[in-house]
Amino acid sequence: MIHLTSGPDEPLEPSSHPVYGAPVKTPQPIRVLAVEDDYLVGLNLEQQLLDAGYEVVGIAASADEALRMATQGKPQLAIMDIRLAGTRDGVDAAIELMTKLGIPSIFATAHGDEKTRRRAAAAKPLGWLQKPYSSALLVAAIKTALTKTS
């Protein structure tokens, strides 16, 4: 029997795609955590980030997975979906990333209502991306976010 995956808790590792021209001139590429529970959307996000020259520390499908990957991979920021697998959502995950690890998030979601935004304020988000978004918008949001952090 060939097991192609060992279970739901095993995180996906980022693929080793070539880097096409890093947008920020640093010796090391910016490390980004993708938090997205939809497999194909997560794959696409990872590809967009890699194509833009960022390093992807992982694709987390749940809040717990996001915290674990962030602790291990030490990203500079996270692209955070609101609706996640498990009982806690992306707002919970973003608040925890910020308060425990000091990692800010950019929310990428179709749930951009005012109530969610108010709740997400505690995570001090660096930006909001309305799904579906283009690669250009994603990169622009990350650049703006990095300007804020620097």
């Binding site: 192609l4 995956t5 279970g7």
Partner: protein, 471 residues
């Protein structure tokens, strides 16, 4: 009889032997009359008070001179009442606890009940003999009860929901205005039973006899009934859905004394639900159409493409979108907007694949009867499409003919999807791709919180196992 006559009775009580029954003439009636705790007075034929005992004077606060010799009507707060009492007594009637209001010396009014009869000699009315019982406290208590009843009545009438109550036998004893308005009729107190409505129907449209309605059940089984929706028909024929809340009532000994029911009209909620369902159906229909358009566009692009590689990529993409479109049509069905029927779902996705494979490859489906959450539909459709494609391309291995078996079973809270072919089996090559083929299957299985494995038997057996989601 004048008071002098009363006083002339012999006072021989203190001379009587202990335990011996005395003749009536031996009793001291004057002492009894004066000191008995019950207020007592005599009134002459012209209404003059002939005499009153201590209890009567103490009751009203007058001295004997202020009371005796005056007309009894002066002490009654209601002239018509005393006139009626005297005329009835003169006519030979007896008064039994006749209510009256007497004016006290301090100006207050006492509520009393007068029990009285006239004394006649040779058919001629001589005087009354009246016992007066103070019922002021009783009246005050009754007034409090009346006020409370009035307050409760006002509260019930002000409620924007229909409220009624019955006795223990189910006869209507009270209903508020809203109940009559909602029912479209005036219930008959003491006659109508169980419910204020005209006719009742169950939520699925069957006639519901009043004797079987939730209120009847609450009384019969002595328990509140909740969560039973029903329809009621008004006499004008109009129908409305409602939610009843019948609750038994008990006395201080726990005995059933009746029940109260609140009827909540849920017409607006039902309309909102129907509207929401209509919008959802409309949205679903549009998504379905858009996916069909997308499928069509990819098919056209595939046909028009000159490049073999582009053709192959477009064919794969077309087949995936086709599987998703096939799955989409079962989502948000009227019967269950959150789940889909497994057998119909598998048939639809396999049907989409059959179109791509042609008639030479048969697909047999073996699924348990059940529902799955809409959340898993798209990942599952894509997984099934990839596994079917894999079985057709690699499992049957270009033979052109063969059979693929798709089964879905449930075991210990896990859903197990198997796709097996009757080919020679295949060597799984790790292409490194995660967005197509078995890489996509593994990724989507993980999204479902499950696992993916390939076994080699007589042909390849691919198995997805994931936790059963709640619908």
């Amino acid at each position: 009889m004048e008071m002098s006559e009363l006083r002339s009775l012999p006072n021989t009580l203190d001379l009587a032997p202990v335990g011996e029954r005395l003749p009536i003439g031996a009793l001291d009636f004057e002492d009894f009359f004066e000191n008995v705790a019950v207020a007592f007075h005599f009134v002459g034929r012209d209404g003059t008070i002939l005499h009153a005992n201590k209890a009567e004077l103490e009751l009203l606060g007058y001295s004997i001179d202020e009371y005796v010799g005056r007309n009894i009507a002066e002490f009654h707060a209601d002239n018509d009442v005393i006139e009626d009492m005297l005329s009835r007594l003169k006519a030979g009637q007896k008064l039994d606890k006749c209510p009256a209001r007497l004016r006290c010396k301090d100006g207050t009014i006492k509520h009393v009940e007068v029990t009285s009869s006239g004394r006649f000699v040779d058919g001629k009315f001589l005087n009354t003999r009246c016992f007066t019982v103070d019922v002021s406290e009783l009246m005050a208590a009754r007034e409090i009860v009346r006020r409370k009843d009035s307050e409760l009545e006002q509260i019930l009438q002000a409620l924007p929901v229909a409220v009624y109550r019955t006795d223990a036998e189910g006869r209507i004893t009270y209903y508020n205005r809203e109940a009559a308005t909602l029912a479209g009729r005036e219930p008959i107190i003491g006659k109508d039973e169980w419910c204020v409505t005209f006719r009742l129907f169950t939520s699925d449209g069957g006639e519901l006899p009043h004797s079987e309605c939730p209120m009847a059940i609450a009384l019969r089984e002595n328990r509140p009934v909740r969560g039973v929706e029903a329809f009621a028909q008004r006499p004008d024929g109009s129908l409305f859905p409602f939610l009843p809340f019948p609750t038994p009532l008990h006395d201080e000994n726990g005995q059933l004394i009746g029940a109260i029911n609140v009827l909540v009209d849920i017409s607006e909620r039902k309309q909102a639900e129907a509207h929401q369902r209509m919008l959802l159906n409309e949205l679903n229909h549009r998504v379905k159409n858009n996916m069909q358009m997308l499928h069509g566009l990819l098919q056209i692009a595939q046909r028009e493409s000159k490049s073999a590689e582009a053709k192959a990529v477009l064919q794969d993409a077309c087949q995936r979108v086709g599987a998703m479109a096939a799955a989409q049509q079962f989502l948000y069905a009227d019967s269950n907007p959150r789940g889909f029927a497994i057998d119909e779902f598998l048939e639809a996705v396999c049907g989409s694949a059959r179109q791509a494979f042609g008639k030479e490859i048969a697909i047999r489906i073996d699924a348990y009867q059940g529902q799955l959450s809409n959340d898993v539909s798209m990942p599952l459709a894509l997984i099934l499409n990839e596994l079917l494609t894999n079985a057709a391309k690699h499992g049957i291995n270009g033979r052109g003919t063969g059979e693929i078996t798709v089964s879905m079973q449930r075991s210990d809270g896990q859903i197990i999807l198997r796709v097996a072919d009757d080919g020679p089996g295949f060597e799984e090559l790790d292409t490194g791709r995660r967005s197509s083929g078995l890489g996509l299957v593994a990724g989507l299985a993980r999204q479902l919180g499950g696992t993916f494995a390939v076994e080699q038997h007589a042909g390849a057996h691919c198995m997805i196992r994931f936790p059963e989601p709640r619908t």
